[in-house]
Amino acid sequence: MSDALNESGGAGPSHRGVEIGVAVFMAALALIGVYGSLKVGIGWADEGPQAGFFPFYISLLVLISCAVNLVQTFTKSDDGALFASWAQLRKVMSVVVPTAIYVFVLTYIGIYLASALLIATFMRWLGRYRWSVAIGVAVLVPVLTFFMFEKWFLVPLPKGPIERYLGF
């Protein structure tokens, strides 16, 4: 176990634990599928198989494969492998958290402002760029996307108060 710690540079959740977590999560999805299919009917009606017929058996197959995967995880001896070190997971979270905020606010403040903020945060926080560089790129990219999507290819994107103020 200590070797595994040294190699990947720090502790972290075990690969086996995550493997079990993924299988259980999938099985939970499948149970929701079974429940939903039963609600609309899985048998035969006058016009043939009911709406839940296909999803029901699909969900059963998911359950079976999750069971097999779980059994295989448990029967294999635990080699102590890490899923990822906490330091690595922190890096992953440093992408997930800003992106989560980004996808939730972009309906309210518009995709252009949100994108500019996301890019600036990333470059300043993770890339340690000077403010001038970060803001330069953060402004340039949304402006380019504006012209590419709204002007050339005529695809409208979500806009917020700023775009309304500017009259778009």
């Binding site: 599928g33 998911v62 690595q88 990333f122 760029y129 994107l157």
Partner: protein, 504 residues
């Protein structure tokens, strides 16, 4: 010779100045997509799909398929210069490509890679030109049971031929079918699995899944690995190109073998990645210089690149002739057809001649344009990789979000994209393959419809799938593909036993 006339008509469509311009744009965007980490062929095409909403279907497919060719070319650049495969199918190219670059033979390796990509693609396109109309013509006679059996074969070969554990492939595929089933039931018009959530009424769009699973998931993985790009300089000049071209014809046998492997693997949905590995492995075993493989042998670049490109191109054969995509990228292109209002399947060849032959002609032209673009612009594309990840990552995130939003002009889709992204990260880390899931979401409705229709005909008995010679053959092939690993094991054991007896 009607096909030849059709093909020339296709060329006349492709050679319109507007379409040639789109072709160049597509190739350049495609190479960028192929070079950047986190942007692969499938999700690059998915993100750029909205750009084509206002175009005619023919122009749209020309641009999108060229993005695909560009991505296939682009993967080789990063493999050879940076030892980082830009795409999974170029992993095998790093084995000999990067050592060649280290020895200062980067130009030679790149020329060999691009040229063999071109040869592989050309072989596959010629095959498509000859075979696709026949297959489509044949498939016109298919009833629902036959159509379902083709889907069955496609999905079974995924399970049997994939290198991931079979039950993980099955789980990921079935979850894809489940996600595809959410929303309106196509047959009865009933709502299902929505649990009263309004945002689930229209179901899960596979484009969102592609952008999330492949785009966001890949960025999270890259972030975790903390890649820093340190590459070799790329110098290509005409002298090196011609020198390499003079040398390449010597490997014609190797090329031909790799083309055949690629076409075979591309048509069955196993795809370009296993094709490139298989071709590399076989070349290593057969070649006289096999033990030099891995140290910078040009044959080690030619073999995987030819096969990967042949497979990537051949994956479009079942897509245009049967409506069954052979790869995630082909699936995205198929989704594009639906958005442009075309019905994929064998009828395309009779009803949408312009479109189909325009696409086939653009495969020829696109690969020629692609070869020229990559040979002349390698240093520019390599420079993109020198931009630090902390700049590239947020820009890719923004592009993914825009792509996800524009599919249905729906902000909830962007949230779903992130959810798919996190799911993709965990699935990839725990060896659940993503491609079967995407294909299942795309084909779910159609597979279910044909399944239920065939059951209706037989009053619910599975005998519908063994009702005539054609459908039983395809179903049996499917079962063979499904149990292929077991059959292979049995065969080697039988042979081993026979060998022992012979020895005694």
């Amino acid at each position: 010779m009607e096909e030849l006339a059709n093909l020339f008509h296709g060329f006349s469509v492709v050679l319109q100045p507007y379409n040639i311009m789109l072709m160049f744009i597509g190739i350049v965007l495609g190479v960028i997509v192929g070079v950047l980490p986190g942007l692969g062929g499938a999700n690059g095409v998915a993100i750029l799909l909205p750009l084509t909403f206002s175009m005619s279907p023919t122009s749209a497919i020309i641009m999108l398929s060229c993005i695909y060719w560009g991505a296939l070319f682009g993967g080789a650049i990063t493999s050879i210069l940076f030892n980082i495969p830009g795409e999974p199918w170029s992993v095998a190219t790093t084995f000999d490509g990067y050592p060649m670059a280290q020895q200062g033979r980067a130009g030679e390796a790149l020329t060999a890679a691009f040229t063999s990509s071109f040869v592989g693609a050309l072989f596959a396109v010629i095959m498509i030109t000859l075979v696709a109309p026949l297959v489509a013509n044949f498939a016109l006679r298919f009833g629902p049971a036959e159509i379902f059996s083709v889907y069955f074969l496609a999905f079974c070969s995924f399970i049997g031929l994939s290198k991931e554990p079979p039950f993980k492939t099955l789980a990921s595929m079935m979850i894809g079918f489940g996600l595809g089933a959410v929303g309106l039931d196509q047959v009865t018009g009933q709502l299902r699995l929505t649990f009263g959530f309004e945002s689930l009424l229209s179901g899960f769009d596979f484009l969102i899944a592609v952008i999330g699973l492949f785009g966001i998931g890949e960025i999270l993985l890259t972030m975790e690995e903390g890649l820093s790009f340190r590459g070799k300089a790329a110098k290509i000049n005409l002298k090196i190109v011609f020198q390499t071209w003079k040398e390449l014809p010597r490997y014609w046998m190797l090329s031909l073998r790799s083309c055949l492997i690629g076409c075979w693997m591309g048509i069955s949905p196993a795809g370009a990645t296993p094709a490139s590995f298989m071709s590399y492995g076989i070349a290593k075993r057969i070649s006289k210089r096999g033990k030099n493989f891995g140290k910078g042998e040009i044959e080690g670049v030619v073999a995987p690149e030819t096969a990967a490109h042949a497979a990537g191109t051949a994956a479009l054969l079942p897509m245009i002739s049967l409506g069954v995509p052979g790869s995630p990228t082909a699936a995205v292109l198929l989704g594009g057809l639906l958005i442009w209002g075309l019905q994929p399947g064998p009828l395309l060849f009779t009803e949408q001649k312009d479109f189909v032959w325009g696409l086939i002609a653009s495969m020829y032209m696109g690969n020629i344009v692609g070869l020229i673009v990559v040979l002349t612009c390698v240093p520019i594309f390599a420079a993109i990789l020198r931009i630090p990840f902390s700049v590239i990552a947020p820009i890719i995130l923004v592009l993914c979000a825009i792509g996800a939003y524009t599919v249905n002009n729906n902000a909830f889709d962007v949230v779903m994209m992130l959810v798919f992204g996190i799911a993709g990260y965990f699935m990839k880390k725990t060896n659940y393959p993503l491609a079967p899931m995407v294909l299942a979401i795309v084909l779910g409705d159609k597979a279910e419809e044909s399944f239920r229709q065939s059951l209706l005909g037989s009053q619910g008995s599975l005998s519908a799938f063994w009702a005539n010679g054609l459908v039983s053959t395809i179903m049996t092939l499917g079962l063979i593909a499904l149990f292929w690993p077991i059959l292979q094991g049995l065969w080697t054991r039988l042979r081993g036993a026979a060998g022992l007896r012979a020895a005694q």
